[in-house]
Amino acid sequence: MSSHTSHLREPLVVGNPTLAQISDDVCAPMERKPSGLWWAAFSVAFTVMIIGLSAIGYEFYTGIGVWGLNKTIGWGFDITNFVFWVGIGHAGTLISAILFLFRQKWRTSINRSAEAMTLFAVICAAIFPLIHMGRPWFGMLWVFPYPNLRGPLWVNFRSPLLWDVFAISTYFTISAVFWFIGLIPDLATVRDRAGTRIRKKIYGILSLGWSGSNRHWVHYETVYMLLAGLATPLVLSVHTIVSMDFATSIMPGWHTTIFPPYFVAGAIFSGFAMVLTLLIITRKVLNIEHLITINHLENMCKVIVATGMMVGLAYATEFLIAWYSGSNYEGFTFINRAKGPYAWAYWTMVSCNVLSPQVFWFKKMRTSVPVIFVMSLVVNVGMWFERFVIIVTSLHRDYLPSSWAMYSPTWVEYTTLLGTFGIFFTAFLVFTRVLPVIAIGEVKSVSQFAKKGHAKVHPSASASGLDPEAMTDDEADGALEVSP
């Protein structure tokens, strides 16, 4: 229950701001003119986005022959980037849904921006399967089952690639709905403090007439919990299904049952790194360091070291099973990964993902913002290489040595990858300008300011151990209740 004043935990919001101050601090970046820094960042991101979109346009116009793929390596940057971006998105859902179900109150400061990040990352991810169809204006419709004039010929529900279509589109839709439902009360806050008519109008429409009515809050809290309960298995299913794109094939290096948990851990790992990259910049630029505190960053570092170890365990397990299975092909694939022509990629992956996160065992490192920032970039590089290693090193040495090949991505592929970063950051920068980057209502519910009564009650309760008399009724009820 949010109203407990614990003596063991540090406060989630530093400096005990009043409720009005929280509204002011979160809304300030949306209400003032953007800073020079924002414009600089936006110009760079927007330019990069345009370059990326031009590369995609060129690829549409000419055909996917402009990529460096060949007969042996049929999946390269396209699917690597797809899996990379989907993985990035997973941290948002983990923070918003799974930490909610586990009553992790510290999520309240970071869930809004992490969910926004999820949406933008999934958009970036969805670009790649679409453009790798070559003629997406056909393919993007044909992947959905609808009555058509081709028979009707239906999609193949036995194919993991089709499962992926359902998983990704459901994931995007539910994440967007969850995000919007979370935004409604905050949009009402923004509406009620809007200075200009046009702002009042726009936020008035978006906030759907939210009045703060407690009858509505009861329904709202229920739906929030239901969506969290639905999103939790959903996020696990999404990367499970993405991993099945590989695991249900008979490619050595792909054909393994460890893939679903391994991919999910890797997704959370990379996603948290991206959340850290974004939030370290955001909290600094928007002056909200008392709301997104060093404790939040430290908690995320703990998640990174834990998931990094899981990923490391998966790498080791793959090797063990390749040897233990006695399959020549599996054995060769893994020795080739570590010692073959792409060994540099493999060892980049291992050092970025398994070795370097170990610095987070030290509190000094976990609480140093520059170290965290550098590490978040390192982890993202490592996780991008993980997908590259899985896809390209498995494909480049297939069953037939005469078709062995190497993969050299072209400028079009590099620019497209770069362009998705442009899309991602452009979207995020716009988001920081038009929507509250922190869930205002949720942060208020964990701040101590409006709970003076509880603060009076609790020191006595802790002095006499667990004194049920000192606990008010609503605290006792609240212990079992849902709070976002």
Partner: protein
């Protein structure tokens, strides 16, 4: 809409504990509570106000069930049904059965979640009658920012203005005044 606009006696508070205590007192005294308004979900206030549990959990279950049935029907029909009257287009792929239930699990799961989530969200908007462009009926300054308010219904049963004012003020209301609906 030609709904008659009503006027309520509104008590405004600054702390969540005060509004919980005040609501409990007002409900206990049998005064007619129209609603409470708070900037965030105040836990315990629903009990104080004696609100029933939300029925949206049933809506969610129904939505999930609908998604589940849709997915099964869609997959079995398109992949496995071939009769003169009703026909999908069964294809032999990899020599596998036409209706392999394990292979249908992922899509079935996704559609269950999709329908469950979308219908719950739609249910929330319907239950609370929220829609784009809706005007807030009873506008009380600050309840989306840092104020907590109780609105009492003077036309309700058991109305006693003196008692209501006293209870609200005793529990720390910084302002007690009549506020009329505007939409």
């Amino acid at each position: 809409m030609s709904r008659e606009l009503k006027t309520f006696l509104v008590g405004v508070f600054e702390e969540e504990d005060q509004i919980i205590a005040a609501t409990r007192a007002v409900v206990g005294a049998g005064l007619p509570v129209h609603d409470c308004f708070t900037p965030y979900a105040v836990h315990g206030l629903d009990h104080a106000q004696k609100l029933p549990r939300s029925k949206l959990t049933y809506v969610c279950f129904g939505g999930g069930l609908l998604g589940f049935l849709t997915a099964i029907t869609l997959q079995v029909y398109t992949q496995g049904i071939e009769t003169p009257l009703l026909s999908g287009w069964p294809l032999i792929i990899g020599g596998k059965p036409f209706i392999p239930l394990p292979a249908f699990v992922p899509v079935t799961f996704e559609l269950t979640v999709l329908f469950g989530g979308l219908i719950s969200a739609a249910g929330l908007l319907a239950f609370c009658r929220l829609y784009p462009g809706k005007k807030v009926p009873l506008h009380i300054d600050g309840v989306t920012n840092d104020r907590f308010a109780i609105a009492l219904d003077p036309q309700g049963q058991g109305w006693n203005e003196a008692r209501a004012r006293k209870l609200l003020t005793d529990h720390g209301a910084i302002e007690v005044a009549y506020v009329g609906e505007t939409a």
